[in-house]
């Protein structure tokens, strides 16, 4: 596999980019909900990223990333025509998709990209997909055109009201669940506090809620146990048992504290990157 970057697009300049990669074997095998692990340099970390889209005919996959630390900053230095050093996947269990009626798909931040692939899967299965997309403001929204292409309802919520409804995705979701008693499933992909808040909103309605967990991973194939999370009192591995789990069973507090464990090293790494790249 060449792992060549066919297309690069800055979705939010300096912050979030989209890459279309030449990876025919992964494109052939990937299903909504799967992720890949990549490495940018021979000294680089293995980074897990959810697959935002695939085109099996063209042999490409799409990934979207947020520049947060050294590894994603390194990825951001690559351009069209460059190759990703290591690209491994598809990993994780695909989203469980069946024809079930109305599905509400909620995305926040770069999670919108991952949610897009899942929403597309539900649409292709014949479900009525309601997409709820949230961001702090208009400029931070992603994939709205793509979602609008197949979702009969696309509801946007921004914190500052610069686009769509002013407020949080959870406000929109609650209103919708109060009006519509026939929602079969809610899917939420985004920052941990958002997924936790969504799960809290749906709980009293008794609606099945699926969240996609972004735990720290190393190998991504069930070997190391770094990504373990507490699902209803049971330890499960996000990489092979997930990454999607029942939002009503996830111990979000534990997930949050485990996500922060390398904060200090991440800062050291980022400082070194800034010195090396002079920014």
């Amino acid at each position: 596999m060449s792992n060549k970057i066919i297309k690069k697009r800055a979705l939010i300049p300096g912050q979030t980019s989209m890459l279309v990669l030449d990876a025919p074997q992964i494109a052939k095998k990937a299903r909504p909900g799967n992720f890949i692990i990549l490495r940018v340099t021979d000294k680089g970390e293995r980074i897990p990223l959810t697959i935002a889209d695939t085109d099996p005919d063209a042999g490409t996959i799409t990934i979207v990333y947020l520049v947060v630390g050294k590894s994603s900053a390194l990825l951001e230095t690559l351009n069209e025509g460059d190759n990703i050093l290591d690209l491994c996947g598809p990993l994780g269990k695909p989203t469980h998709i069946e024809k079930c009626g109305t599905v509400i798909c909620i995305g926040g931040g770069t999670g919108i990209a991952a949610m897009h692939h899942i929403a597309k899967g539900h649409h292709n299965a014949g479900n009525h997909v309601v997409a709820i997309v949230g961001a702090r403001s208009k400029d931070l929204l992603l994939f709205c055109d793509e979602l609008g292409g197949f979702c009969p309802e696309l509801i946007i919520a921004t914190d500052d009201g610069s686009c769509g409804q002013k407020g949080f995705v959870t406000d929109v979701l609650r209103e919708r669940l109060e009006k519509d008693k026939d929602v079969a499933e809610v899917v939420a992909v985004g920052p941990v506090p958002m997924m936790e808040a969504v799960s809290k909103v749906t709980k009293p309605f008794g609606v099945k809620t699926v969240v996609s967990l972004n735990s720290i991973m190393v190998d991504g194939v069930g070997m190391c146990g770094a990504c373990r999370c507490n699902i209803g009192g049971e330890t499960q591995f996000a990489c092979v048992d997930g990454p999607e789990f029942d939002g009503h069973k996830v111990d979000f507090k534990e997930l949050n504290m485990r996500l922060k464990q390398y904060k200090e090293q991440e800062r050291v790494s980022m400082d070194l990157f800034r010195r090396q790249y002079g920014n």
Binding site: V218, D219, V221, G222, R228
Partner: protein, 471 residues
């Protein structure tokens, strides 16, 4: 009587780094023999008529043969003899439990110390240098042309698959090895630390296979990127499964998901595969705790404990529920660990891991044990002494109590029969599984064992594959 030579009862010592120096670096502990030392040690070999050492070797190295050449100073001939049956001699010379295998069977060992067969194997592998890689492997100056009538795939790039690849490549069969991680070598890379097995040594052995025509596909996950069905559709004639047993086991005690609790797999993979000992030069981070408890008494526990010392921990404890006599690690590893400063908390079993307000490990509560009657394994059963516990202050805990079968490939392979523990059922003589022309070996068949036993299984499977495919 006059012709009988005098045998030195003591084996030639192997130079090694001083304990209080080596516990601060990741360079190899044992430095290897000089040529003179190797020849001296080789000359201790009795050259038995019916040498039992070979029967003790899972890959059947002609030990008498190679030591004979070495004793006369002919390193190239010694190397060729070893390479006839062993694809990874530089690895085996370092990590095999020779005391239970070749050296354990050595006749000289009945009266004196056995011949240091492992050290000699290592010397020969490290010191044979050839311009022709083909010659290095096959003894022929020209590589045999690939037999393009058949092709074989191996899933997993660890010792069992590398043995299969080496055996078949020597017969001209094109072999493709699919490995899930980005580096080839499996446990040799992610599991065994640099100070016991330098990665350059593994890379050299893999490089030799590469030049012999073996194709390696890193970043291909068996069962995800490619299935066994896909491989047969792509025209492979036989498939060998050597995916290891990589599912970490935990203890299911309170506090196990606290920050600072690691499986040995995660800890060693970060440090070895991710080169976290070289952070921030390499990007993968590892924790730098002060006080570390390692739960378990096997080689992996020793590796984790010695790694933690090298990363700057002040106190590293091995907590093991029996006594030193039952501790399963190789004596040499245990001895090295103690020399380097690892402390033994014997007859203890963890009850809980306790956290601070930030959900970070603060201490561990240990149940005090005593030895009871022998159990079915023949070892004395550890029994809890009621009411006796103690707490140790630790800010990191590494769980090294073994691994289970990783289900990723198995779940994606319909018809593959597993045993009650979830390992693949394979014929112990041939390696064949319930699926036609699908073979398996190594830890995914037998559970966590040794590098050399995985290689022995690979060798048996490769022989069957060669017969089956008539190569």
């Amino acid at each position: 009587m006059g012709t009988k030579r005098k045998i030195n009862p003591v084996r030639t010592p192997m130079p090694e780094q001083e304990a209080d120096v080596r516990n601060k670096n990741f360079s190899e502990v044992a430095l290897g023999y000089s040529r003179e030392q190797a020849i001296l040690e080789a000359q201790r070999c009795l050259q038995c008529k019916n040498p039992p050492c070979r029967k003790g070797c899972p890959v059947e190295i002609d030990i008498k043969g190679f030591i004979g050449h070495l004793a006369s100073g002919d390193i190239p001939s010694a190397y060729k003899v070893i390479k006839q049956t062993n694809a990874l001699p530089a690895v085996c010379g370092r990590v095999c439990p020779q005391e239970n295998q070749c050296e354990g069977s050595c006749i000289l060992g009945k009266k004196y110390e056995p011949v240091a067969i492992g050290r000699l194997e290592r010397f020969v592998a490290d010191n044979f240098d050839s311009d022709s890689v083909c010659e290095m492997i096959t003894g022929d100056t020209a590589c045999s042309l690939p037999n393009d009538q058949v092709k074989v795939a191996c899933i997993g790039g660890g010792p069992s698959s590398l043995t299969v690849a080496g055996y078949l490549a020597a017969r001209g069969v094109p072999v493709t090895v699919y490995e899930a991680l980005h580096e080839i070598g499996g446990v040799l890379i992610y599991g065994i630390p640099e100070f016991r097995l330098p990665k350059s040594i593994v890379a050299r052995e893999v490089g030799a296979l590469w030049s012999k025509g073996v194709t390696f596909f890193p970043n291909w996950v068996g069962g995800k990127t490619i299935t066994i069905e896909d491989l047969f559709d792509d025209g492979f004639d036989a498939v060998f499964i050597g995916v290891g047993a990589g599912l970490p086991k935990f203890l299911n005690i309170p506090g196990e998901n606290l920050v600072g609790v690691f499986s040995s797999n995660e800890y060693l993979t970060r440090v070895n595969l991710g080169r976290a000992y070289d952070f921030p030069e390499h990007d993968t981070p590892a924790p730098h705790p002060k006080n570390v408890a390692v739960v378990g008494g096997g080689n992996v526990a020793m590796d984790a404990a010695r790694t933690a010392l090298r990363l700057g921990a002040e106190n590293v404890y091995i907590t093991y529920r029996r006594t030193l006599d039952e501790l399963p690690a190789r004596r040499e590893e245990l001895h090295h660990a103690i020399e380097e400063g690892v402390k033994m908390e014997l007859l203890t079993s963890p009850v809980s891991i306790n956290g601070d307000d930030n959900s970070h490990v603060k201490s561990m509560t240990l149940q005090i044990m005593e030895l009871g009657e022998p159990d079915e394994s023949g070892r004395c059963r550890p029994v809890a002494i009621a009411g006796q516990t103690k707490d140790i202050d630790v800010d990191m805990v590494i769980i090294a109590v073994g691994t289970g079968a990783n289900p990723v490939l198995l779940e994606a392979t319909p018809g593959l029969e597993l045993n009650k523990w979830g390992y693949i059922m394979a014929n112990p003589e041939t390696g064949e599984t319930s699926l036609h022309n699908v073979f398996a070996g190594g830890d995914i068949v037998g559970g966590s064992a040794t590098v050399i036993s995985a290689m022995g299984a690979g060798r048996r499977a490769a022989k069957t594959i060669a017969e089956r495919l008539k190569v």
